[in-house]
């Protein structure tokens, strides 16, 4: 499917979705309420068949988090980006997509580790790279490390 077809198809399953086409890839901004159902549909519905989650990350925009999911269909060779805005930075929560893409388990642990986003119903949500008692979340923009040397 090309971008226009994708847009109409996505609107078909989730009318609240908004689009951002400024970049190279189509960005789909999804409200966090219907997020898990939407992602499940993307995987299960044959016209999407987005079976390959190749990048899962988060962006700290200082007043909110933006979860970013890069999805590709190995069969249809179309790709787009799903974004979810997390308003509450102190208690950022989102449903896990582990059940849909197995790769998400470690990727979500990484985001939890470095951003402090909690993934609900994640089977094993622990820090991945840092120690269990590490203070703060390093990839947040307001992270301060006393040992960090500014150049």
């Amino acid at each position: 499917m090309n971008k226009e077809e994708l847009k109409s198809a996505i609107t078909g399953i989730l009318p609240e979705a908004t689009f951002d086409e400024s970049g190279e890839l189509l960005n789909v901004i999804v409200p966090s309420s219907g997020f898990l159902q939407f992602m499940t549909n993307l995987m299960s519905k044959k016209e999407f068949d987005m079976n390959y989650l190749y990048c899962l990350t988060c962006i700290d925009w200082k007043d909110h988090f933006m979860m970013v999911y890069h999805l590709l269909s190995r069969n249809h060779k179309h790709e787009f980006v799903v974004k979810v805005k997390l308003e509450n930075r102190d208690q950022a929560e989102i449903e896990t997509v582990c059940g849909i893409w197995k790769t998400a388990e470690l990727l979500e642990r990484e985001v939890f580790d470095l951003f402090g986003v909690t993934f609900l119903h994640h089977p094993d949500l622990r820090r991945l790279f840092l120690d269990e008692d590490w203070p703060g979340f390093p990839l947040r923009k307001d992270y301060v490390d006393e040992n960090m040397i500014e150049i």
Binding site: S22, G23, E24, L25, N27, N51, Y52, L53, Y54, C55, T57, I59, D60, V68, H70, R74, K77, V81, W101, K102, T103, E105, L106, L107, E110, L114, L128, F129, L130, P138, L139, I151
Partner: protein, 373 residues
């Protein structure tokens, strides 16, 4: 006699062994917690971060010219390809393209890097399976490629040769001659490789039918590179999303269907031949012209998000740059191939023996700094 406590044997009688972070076959500082039932692997849990340097955070404080070189330290066996991925992402943001000469140089260097990486992998695979000799044969050939790199880039491993818009300086006058020599030698030696390891009955027994990864799992775990192609999943970025002019060269995407260690091994062996093929096509056809596109001294990307992927020897490396218009990236995310490949390890190794785990780790070719970043 209990100093380490209850962690030795679990309640259901499983023996817990920590492989790593200091272990010869984890190739670095990977730490695997392995639950064993006798010698049979019940469960594996990777513990990472022993070499986590937060290159993503570092990149947020470096300029668009500098952050490229931090990535040499991610997948140090494919430093050139990492650099290339970042440079391509920056070029995508700037809306420019490298000069034709630079593009060809990038492919040549990239394929040499791939060869060197696969040679090292071949040696290490032999070593991991208990055959020490292949390691030396591999290093002999890799040395020739490192020498070529040194002559042109000034560095053997972390080349830092790619800049946005092209390459840092022109190739050394000896480059073509020495590359041709190295390739000719290597083609001869590749048959030795097969004689030494491929046909060995012990090697076949150790790898055939071991560590099977199904195509469905490969997709779901986001496995890429030769590891996924051995399971029959077509995923070569050079074919799917050609960059740097890969669409103009002839080569095959190697696919196998078995998905076991031997298939992964054969895929990489065949890939070496494809890399040789690419180099042979281009080595005499480097276009004349500038080796670098003119760019501003301080690069500023427009606001937006840029994703660029390349094919490293281990799989798909993605560079995701978020720009807010400043002189350094607002957020950089590296989608590292090793990270996703590692996540499938537990599925592959379950039910196997400790020896199988070593074989699997060898054939998915883990590079730990690439996983930890």
């Amino acid at each position: 006699m209990s100093l380490l406590g209850e962690d030795i044997v679990t309640e259901d009688g499983l023996f817990v062994v920590n492989m790593g972070p200091q272990h010869p076959s984890t190739h670095g500082v990977l730490h695997l917690k392995v639950w064993l039932d006798g010698e049979t692997i019940h469960k594996i849990e990777p513990h990472m971060g022993y070499i986590h340097r937060s290159i993503e955070k570092m990149s947020e404080n470096l300029s668009y010219r500098n952050f490229i070189f931090a990535t040499s330290r991610m997948d140090y066996l494919a430093a050139h390809i990492n650099n290339e991925a970042c440079a391509l992402a920056v070029e995508k943001g700037l809306g420019i393209q490298a000069t034709p000469r630079a593009k060809v140089i990038r492919i040549l260097m990239g394929e040499l890097t791939r060869l060197a990486s696969h040679q090292l992998w071949w040696g290490c695979t032999g070593l991991d399976l208990g055959a020490v000799s292949p390691f030396f044969y591999a290093f002999r050939d890799r040395e020739a490629i490192n020498d070529i790199m040194e002559e042109t880039c000034g560095a053997r491993l972390t080349q830092n040769y790619v800049v946005p818009g092209g390459v840092m300086f022109d190739i050394h006058p000896n480059f073509q001659k020495r590359t041709k020599e190295a390739i000719a030698n290597f083609k001869r030696n590749l048959t030795d490789y097969d004689k030494l390891l491929t046909g060995n009955v012990i090697f076949e027994n150790r790898t055939k039918g071991v560590g099977i990864l199904t195509k469905e799992d490969a997709i779901s775990f986001g496995v890429t590179g030769p590891t996924a192609r051995a399971s029959g999943l077509s995923c070569d970025v050079r074919k799917w999303f050609p960059y740097s002019g890969y669409e103009n060269v002839e080569f095959d995407e190697i696919l196998a269907t078995e998905g076991d260690c031997f298939a992964r091994y054969m895929c990489r062996m065949a890939e070496m031949r494809q890399s040789v093929r690419i180099i042979e096509q281009l080595i005499d056809n480097i276009p004349e012209g500038d080796f670098q596109e003119k760019t501003k001294a301080v690069i500023k990307l427009p606001k937006g998000e840029f994703y660029q992927r390349v094919e490293t020897p281990r799989g798909e490396l993605g560079v995701f740059i978020v720009s807010d218009g400043a002189a350094s990236p607002y957020r950089v995310k590296y989608r590292s191939p090793g990270f996703s490949n590692l996540s499938a390890l537990s599925t592959m190794a379950k039910g196997g023996k400790i020896g199988d785990l070593v074989a699997i780790m060898a054939t998915i070719d883990l590079v730990i700094p690439d996983i930890d970043r």
